[in-house]
């Protein structure tokens, strides 16, 4: 397995930056997400997580630092969280952290909705200024 690294593109802020690290089992998605071809963007990320979690002994931490995602992206994020929930139920050690800005109450609602939809515990972590 290889790492997935998608760097920030200043001309295309609608793509998030991604860093999926197979060595330390930490995945991070940050920035904004409202690209046109959402499914095409997220499919490799979902496949990576599925494959990584096939080995039940490997822990995974997923850090979301998204400041905005459109509803199309949220559908794929839901898929990602469903995969995590399933593997957690099967015994994988997985942690999901969601970093948020205290001045953004709408984001807290979003995370709550994801928790209710998936049954997964998501740690809300307030970003320090």
């Amino acid at each position: 397995m290889e790492n997935i690294i998608i760097k920030e593109v200043p001309d295309a802020p609608y793509y998030p930056t991604v860093n999926f690290d197979v060595q330390n089992g930490v995945c991070e998605i940050s920035g904004e997400s409202y690209m046109e071809e959402t499914f095409k963007f997220y499919s490799p990320l979902l496949e990576w997580i599925k494959k990584y979690l096939e080995d039940k002994s490997k822990p995974l931490t997923l850090n979301f630092k998204l400041t905005y995602f459109n509803t199309n992206s949220s559908r794929l994020i839901l898929d990602m969280l469903d995969i995590i929930k399933k593997s957690k139920d099967e015994g994988n050690k997985v942690i999901v952290n969601w970093y948020y800005d205290a001045a953004d109450p709408d984001m807290i609602d979003e995370v709550e909705d994801f928790e209710m939809e998936t049954g997964l515990d998501i740690n809300l972590v307030e970003l320090k200024k």
């Binding site: 409202y34 046109e36 459109n70 559908r75």
Partner: protein
Amino acid sequence: MFKVGYDNDSIISFKGPLTVGLLSFVGNSLKSIIRVENSLAKRIFRIFIELTQNVSYYSAETIEVEKGIKSGVGWFIVKENSNKYNVTTGNLIIREDGFKLIRNCDEINSLTEKELRELKRRTRSQAIERDVGAHIGLIQTSLLSGDKLNYKVTELDDIHSFFTISVNIKK
């Protein structure tokens, strides 16, 4: 192509293919034009993106903007007056789809915030990953604005109708 402040209360308007590059540029420009607190600016940006991307994804009129890449055609206006902001979009739709849009908008307008969030979760879980559909974007727009969706479907001929939708965001 852009019109900035073409009438008293309009901040920006555009008519043409709504590509993600254009929407990103305008959305981020809005954040700096509108000098309001961060959470309100975010809300306006999010509503702007949801409504305009519904045009990009689902307008019945499309233009090939690059080889192999089509973009929905329509228009948007962002306005400001003394106590609110307003985002309005318009695009061509297939006449048949208009009936479903009317049902969806009427349902959204009849629900409380709690019920809307339930509907959003249900709609999202059931949506197809490859084509999420316009419905959830409309629910999200209503949730974020805390306002009713003001919409209008005008039948043009046997095949097409025109859909406009407008929401207010309180200052």
